[in-house]
């Protein structure tokens, strides 16, 4: 399956929700510690190599990106200098970024586009806050400040336009309703920093969390005293966790142990697939909404892999 070599270290990869052959990759020089960043938009061709559709340079590393859910050419990038940049692929490179929103005072670490109320997105930052934005406003709509340490990721609930969850280095996940003044729920989900969280796409009360403690935990917010499942198998911090858009019990994750794993949290032997194609930390993973079983991953080896579940990502 196809491979793309980026000049910088991969940080995140996301399939377009509109075109099945398109994906975007966020990259940063020097592991995101110092240097420039670049956002690549890539096109898969049947049986051919991956081609670059567009690329945008930034003055600092790009840590994450999100495709717009409302418009097929719009992308949002989370940049390490704290800015949030919007890119429109239908405009010439000189017109991009179409917007640069600079409110976070520290690194912007994640961005998630609201799949229900599709004019809005949230960003989370090392400044301990989450910000809510709508595409038509030059400033954020709201800032959510409760976490006591870096917020590494935040994710919208797939069904409720106003509900999202945030994962933080303060070892908690918080659930928020944007109509509420404060968080509506605090989940002390792990003993170590929590790097990622995601909602089940088929059960809007189920959330997965990934931590530096090497585990992924699955929680039901209606009875959150104990996790529904604890997934052991990664040997270093779990960097990202993501629910399948096609099967309710399917989860994918990537880790500093350089592997990408697939899990079914409903069954006893939850680990159903492990891919160790990356040669450095695996930090970005995604599942295509449009093509069932199609996976993409990126890592600090500067490579982007796209493959069908069950096949070898490195097979030519």
């Amino acid at each position: 399956m196809p491979v793309f070599k980026a000049p910088f270290n991969g940080y995140a990869v996301k399939f377009s929700p509109f075109f099945e052959q398109r994906l975007a990759v966020a990259t940063s020089q020097n592991f995101g510690i110092l240097g420039n960043g670049r956002l690549h938009v890539l096109d898969l061709s049947p049986a051919g190599p991956i081609s670059e559709f567009a690329a945008f340079d930034t003055a600092d590393g790009v840590y994450d990106l999100a495709w717009s859910e409302s418009h097929d050419s719009l992308l949002v990038a989370a940049v390490a200098d704290g800015s949030v940049k919007l890119y429109d692929l239908s405009l010439p490179p000189t017109a991009n970024p179409v917007r640069s929103l600079h409110e976070h005072t520290r690194e912007t670490h994640s961005v998630d586009y609201n799949p229900v109320r599709r004019d809005s997105f949230i960003t989370s930052s090392w400044d301990d806050t989450i910000k809510l934005w709508t595409i038509d406003r030059p400033t954020s709509v709201r800032t959510f400040k409760e976490h006591a340490y870096c917020v590494y990721s935040s994710a919208w609930n797939p069904r409720h336009a106003d509900v999202f969850a945030s994962a933080s280095g303060d070892c908690t996940v918080r659930v928020w309703d944007v109509r509420e003044p404060g968080s509506t729920m605090i989940l002390p989900a792990h003993e170590f920093e929590i790097l990622s969280c995601d909602w089940n796409k088929y059960d809007d009360c189920v959330i997965a969390t990934a931590s530096v403690d090497k585990t992924i935990k699955v929680w039901d917010v209606r009875s959150f005293r104990v996790p529904v499942a604890v997934l052991n198998g990664h040997s270093y911090a779990v960097r990202k966790v993501k629910f399948s858009p096609h099967r309710g019990s399917l989860i994918t994750s990537c880790s500093y142990d350089m592997t990408v794993c697939l899990w079914d949290y409903m069954v006893e032997d939850a680990l159903i697939g492990r891919y160790d194609h990356h040669t450095e930390f695996a930090v970005g993973v995604d599942m295509s909404v449009l093509v069932e079983g199609l996976l993409a991953s990126t890592g600090w080896d500067e490579l982007v892999y796209v493959w069908q579940h069950g096949t070898d990502p490195r097979a030519p």
């Binding site: 110092l34 240097g35 003055a59 917007r99 944007v178 404060g182 002390p188 917010v221 270093y236």
Partner: protein, 628 residues
Amino acid sequence: MVHPIGVNTRSQSDLEGPPQRVLSSFLHSFVNSGRGGIPLHPTPLPVLGLSEGDKKCIRDRSSIMARHFFADKSEDFINSQVNALLSSLDIDNDIRARGPLPGRFRELDEYWNESQGMLKPGPLPADGWVAEYAQHRVQHGDPNAWAQLFERQHGANGWASEFEHEQSQIASLNPMGGANISNLAAMEQTRMLAHTLAQNNDPKFQNSKFLQFVSKMSRGEIFIEDNQVKPTAVSAPGDWATEYQQQHDGGHAWADQFVQDKLSHGPGGWVNEFAAERELHGSIEDQWVNEFSKLNVQDWADEFGRQVGEGALGESSTDNWANAYDDYLNEQVASKQRSDTSRGVYEFSDMNPYVGRPNPLKEGQELFRKGLLSEAVLAFEAEVLKNPDNAEGWRLLGMAHAENDDDQQAIAAMMRAQEVDPTNLEVLLALGVSHTNELEQPAALKYLYSWLRHHPKYGTLAQPEMSDSLYYADVARLFNDAAQMSPEDADVHIVLGVLFNLSRDYDKAIASFKTALALKPRDYSLWNKLGATQANSVQSADAIEAYQQALDLKPNYVRAWANMGISYANQGMYEESIRYYVRALAMNPKADNAWQYLRISLSCASRDDMVKACDSRNLDILQKEFPL
């Protein structure tokens, strides 16, 4: 082969910047050291020229990331790794902008359990929406239940704020962790952890680039491989207007884009689509919103506006954001028109990380002093964007461009400086020099004459009627007079040297520069000027000496390295010239001319075996073959 005159310090392109490869390797070994538990040795590094901002990034980001890589290791180990990295990069670790958060707040657990215990009876009032979730599923379509819940919940958020309060107290009490750990203890710790490397059998980890570098480093084999130049924030001209608008009057660009977008996607642009879609689905699916509107709050955006209006969020702008935004937009358009009517030929860089910094002028001066010219240009640009009437800002911007071999931009910036302050001597001198570099004799003469006329000491020499029609000989004569008036003024001799270069009177130019150097022996750009002039007058052996002086004063002066190569080549010492070109290219692989010079020297030295490496720009092979 013609030497670039080097009247300015002509460097071929952006040659200044942290040598990225070295830095990359260091960060690599740092990141990797977590896996094998190998101590990171603080190997002294050549001066990388990292800016304060760079250092802050490295310090903060490595501290935070280290806690993810080194999850298994002790806090002491993590601190020692971070400290080793920082000290090897010569970064102070005393300002800990972001300390670690060691483990969990233990105290928090208690509060958590307490609060849970207190709230246990009853249907989890603080988690209203969760309960609501449960109910929502059962009684789908009964909006009242939710509304009641909402009210109930609003009444019962006491513990949440209490919790938050306690938490912030704990957070402020929490020591930021291990900043003062004993180095000895850390060393011992890392030595012990080094053994764990042997126990890691995973071949992939053993093959990791990180790991290999670490072992190489521990054997003391670290060396500068090929210093790459930091590709600074894209100084490609042309896009400044766009970027400027985005960064400074964002709304303008956005508005344009918005209009364009609407046009290109027809009247039913995505905004409309979105609205339509909401109408379609809203009633069936988004009951939350409807229910919410029964509480007289249609939308969280409105709610937000209302809260702002009431001052609930502590914001001062009570008016609708749109009005304020319109005003802002108009103001920006007006200011842009103002600057367009003036001389708008200066091209700003596309992306500028210094915009919005509190004191870009000071940062720029610091960068300039360190020779990080491309970075300095950005900082000065940020300064003149902030204070367009700051003549000094424009002048320094022009200086940075001149030193960075961009005389067009240098002239543009200097002209802006001159507009603001028409009699600034330094500006006039710089304009004269830049125009000489561009071989624009009339303009050069005009500014040099103007310099003389406004000089408090030499003003009397200049006759006002001359300024209309300037002749080279007249201006040169005036400066000769000035030099006789005050022989100790290096500037006058520099101008004379420049003037003689303009007339290709190299012997006299050399004499003038030598006189100036006797007065300013530490001016590296002056040494380069002398060297270039000597080379142009076929005194290549002497030129090498001058370049060496320049390099002694400024080791990362790539133009001088390349010029050395040219001088050796001119003397038929091709093998020598190759070494200097390779050195220059290692510092700036983008110096296209140097690649061409290198190819010629390789051919002349009958080193056809290396031509291929040159054509494929393989510096690794070339550096191995031609160490300096």
